[in-house]
């Protein structure tokens, strides 16, 4: 896997969400991603960044344009040092939420992107990595 462009953004406040989404749009436009795929990736990113703010009061996101096996895509890595997720299987279930939300964030984001990886250690933090390829597969 080759990383072609890399950028890091700190997410500390709700006002950071819109500039972050715009940055994701910029990255996906740069590789010529279609509007539907862009919308899916940005919506997933929006859910994940919102989780980060809500449960870990922020963190940082690494944005990358990557290339692998002649495919180009955008990889986003969300890192926080929040409380972590005790039961990942439960957190990935539709409709489950410890907050007052619809519980669609994690499972919904997973459905919207091509690759999704979640690692979490209670007490240390959570890292979510998503990849969406240019052609959406």
């Amino acid at each position: 896997m080759i990383v072609m462009t890399k950028d890091t953004m700190d997410i500390a406040r709700e006002q950071d969400v819109v500039p972050f989404r715009n940055r994701v749009r910029e990255f996906s436009t740069r590789i010529g991603m279609s509007l539907v795929n862009q919308t899916k990736l940005i919506t997933a990113a929006s859910e994940l960044v919102r989780n980060m703010l809500k449960y870990a009061s922020g963190g940082k996101v690494i944005l990358e344009i990557i290339s692998q096996n002649a495919k180009t895509g955008v990889r986003l890595t969300f890192k926080d040092e929040g409380p972590g997720i005790a039961d990942i299987a439960l957190a990935m279930r539709d409709g489950y939420s410890t907050g007052r939300s619809l519980g669609l964030g994690l499972p919904g984001a997973k459905r919207l992107v091509n690759e999704f990886d979640l690692k979490s250690t209670p007490g240390e933090g959570t890292t979510v990595t998503v990849i969406h390829w240019k052609h959406g597969r």
């Binding site: 709700e14 969400v17 919308t39 859910e47 939300s101 919904g108």
Partner: protein, 136 residues
């Protein structure tokens, strides 16, 4: 503080969202709209989201909340102008916007609201309504 303008048009309230909403702005809109429904006795709320490129679960919940709160206050809500990419994404996300009426554009949304209002008042002045345009 930034606010989304709400226009009153006859018995309806009209909102056009021209920017990507951040959370506080969306919550302010929810609050303003419900207050306006109460103050004006509006019978319908039309929300145009044709300029909105991202609707995530938070934004979807706000639209649902506006619809349920308005209904309790005897007003119907119609969301119009959703971009195709947004519709595709919402369904995959798992958000079906239950209880929210939708229409393709402002014109069809107004027709829908008029029909709903007409239904409640009894059939008198909406005779020329095109029945093929029903959306739900």
């Amino acid at each position: 503080m930034e606010r989304i303008p709400i226009l009153k048009m006859g018995p309806f309230l009209l909102v056009t969202i021209q920017i990507d909403l951040y959370d506080r702005l969306a919550l302010t809109l929810e609050n303003d709209l419900i207050n306006m429904v109460s103050q004006t006795g509006a019978r319908g709320v039309l929300i145009d989201i044709s300029a909105v490129s991202i609707v995530d679960s938070f934004m979807g919940r706000i639209l649902g909340n506006i619809a349920s709160m308005s209904r309790i206050m005897d007003a119907e809500t119609v969301v119009v102008g959703m971009q195709p990419a947004v519709a595709i994404t919402l369904v995959e996300l798992g958000l079906t916007l239950q209880g929210v009426h939708t229409a393709l554009n402002v014109e069809k949304g107004m027709e829908l609201l008029n029909t709903k209002l007409g239904d409640n008042l009894g059939p008198d002045d909406e005779e020329e309504e095109d029945q093929d345009d029903r959306n739900d």
